[in-house]
């Protein structure tokens, strides 16, 4: 009888271990795309004349000032999702974007129509946050502020930070009025 009991015990233990072994097959070494990592900056465009009404920016192109790759090219949209520069943690970092409206006007033959470029500057303090084994670290951006450079013909009339802590992509962080 004792033997039988011992055998039962062994069987229970072995199945335990096999079950536990299967557990170890889970893929926690790949960063799942659903895991929130370093967030983008989300900007929404509003109509300056009608409060609370979004308004698309016509044929918009966006490029980071020092870069030569367009983030957005010739799209009529009412919101932007932009990556922020990260040069130093826990210090003030700056991203400058050139927002060009009416991109198509540069492409057509008509000399009377031209595009209009405005520069916006975003300042923020990146903070390092541990996510997981597979994803490692992400950065969030605190104390965000935004300005628009004044030029003789600005199409952007106002810029307002509505969420100064950029730690998710659930809602807009900055509103642009035009």
């Amino acid at each position: 009888m004792k033997h039988k009991k011992a055998h039962k015990n062994i069987k229970v233990l072995l199945s335990f271990l096999i079950l536990a072994g299967l557990w170890s097959c889970e893929r926690d070494d790949i960063c799942a795309s659903t895991t929130p990592t370093t967030p983008h900056l989300i900007i929404r465009f509003y109509n300056i004349n009608a409060s609370g009404e979004t308004q698309t920016a016509r044929h918009l192109s966006v490029i980071e000032e020092d870069s030569d790759t367009y983030l957005v090219y010739d799209k009529t949209i009412d919101s932007l999702v932009l990556p922020l520069r990260l040069d130093a943690l826990d210090n003030l970092n700056t991203s400058r974007f050139v927002l060009t409206k009416d991109t198509d006007y540069d492409l057509d033959e008509d000399p009377n129509t031209v595009s209009n470029s405005d520069i916006i500057e975003i300042n923020y303090t990146p903070e390092l946050i541990y996510v997981s084994r597979a994803c490692g670290y992400k950065s969030v951006f605190n104390d965000a502020s935004a300005t628009r450079e004044t030029d003789p013909s600005n199409w952007i009339i106002g810029i307002e930070v509505i969420n100064s802590t950029i730690n998710n992509e659930d809602a807009a962080h900055i509103n642009i009025y035009h």
Binding site: H3, W23, C31, T38, D87, C135
Partner: protein, 255 residues
């Protein structure tokens, strides 16, 4: 010589596997009754000497891995003391250094640990043989440090060059405590020399986490999992029994 040892070991392992089957066949209640009667009759029992003492050994698997895996260094010594026919007091003492790296993290865990508990031999041996198929319970504790060697911030956006850091950061004075369920075998391959294999299922009770990081590996506990507090380990041991005294074991004669 080596071949001979291996063949002896193989034969013993086969015996270990086959033996439970033969003993199964004897579990008819009537036979058991007869056995009980026989046990009362001193003339019908064989008395064999069983060795009691301290068994000391080392983990060969960890030693070998230290040489072939550049991200691992470790060694473990183990010991057990026989309390009764089936019960052993058992423990392990070890050090481990393990580096875990991927594209975004490079962390080295370094520390020492000990485990203490019991082993229970579930195997009824033949005559004077003293092999073990055992299950055990341990409480393990570890003190360790985590060194963040480097990291690269994870981002889904490739627009800017990634931000990475090579500034090493050390988190010292961390500790952890866990329990283990052990199952293993130990076979006596030469007089007093044992070779064994065991697997461990672990459950973390408490651990210190480094700030803004987590324990990816805990010395003694092995790697951790995102899903919870469970862990696994295995060992491959060679040990030597230092006999201290002998005790009689009564075996009923079957015919």
């Amino acid at each position: 010589m080596k071949m001979q040892r291996i063949s002896i070991f193989t034969i013993k392992l086969i015996i270990l596997m086959v033996l439970p089957l033969t003993s199964f066949a004897q579990e008819d209640p009537e036979i058991q009754e007869i056995q009980e009667i026989q046990e009362k009759n001193v003339n019908d029992t064989i008395i064999v000497k069983q060795k009691y003492g301290l068994r000391l050994g080392g983990d060969i698997g960890k030693l070998v891995r230290s040489f072939i895996d550049e991200d691992y260094k470790g060694f473990e010594i183990s010991g057990d003391y026989r309390l009764t026919r089936k019960l052993y007091l058992a423990g392990e003492l070890g050090i481990e250094e393990r580096t875990i790296r991927n594209d975004y993290l490079d962390v080295t865990a370094n520390g020492s640990y000990f485990k203490a508990g019991i082993d229970y031999n579930m195997y009824g041996n033949w005559l004077d043989m003293e092999n073990l198929i055992y299950t055990g319970l341990r409480v393990g504790a570890s003190t360790f440090s985590q060194n963040l060697n480097s990291y690269k911030i994870y981002t889904t956006d490739q627009y800017y060059p990634p931000f990475s850091s090579l500034d090493s950061q050390d988190f010292k004075g961390l500790s952890a405590i866990w329990i283990e369920l052990v199952i293993g075998v130990k076979a006596e391959v030469l007089t007093n020399l044992f070779v064994g294999f065991d697997v461990q299922l672990k459950g973390m009770i408490a651990e210190d986490q480094p700030s803004n990081l987590e324990n990816l590996y805990v010395p003694g506990f092995n790697r951790t999992f995102d899903s919870g507090r469970f862990g696994f380990g295995f060992g491959y041991n060679v040990s030597y029994l230092i006999p201290i005294f002998k005790k009689n074991k009564k075996i009923p004669v079957e015919n």
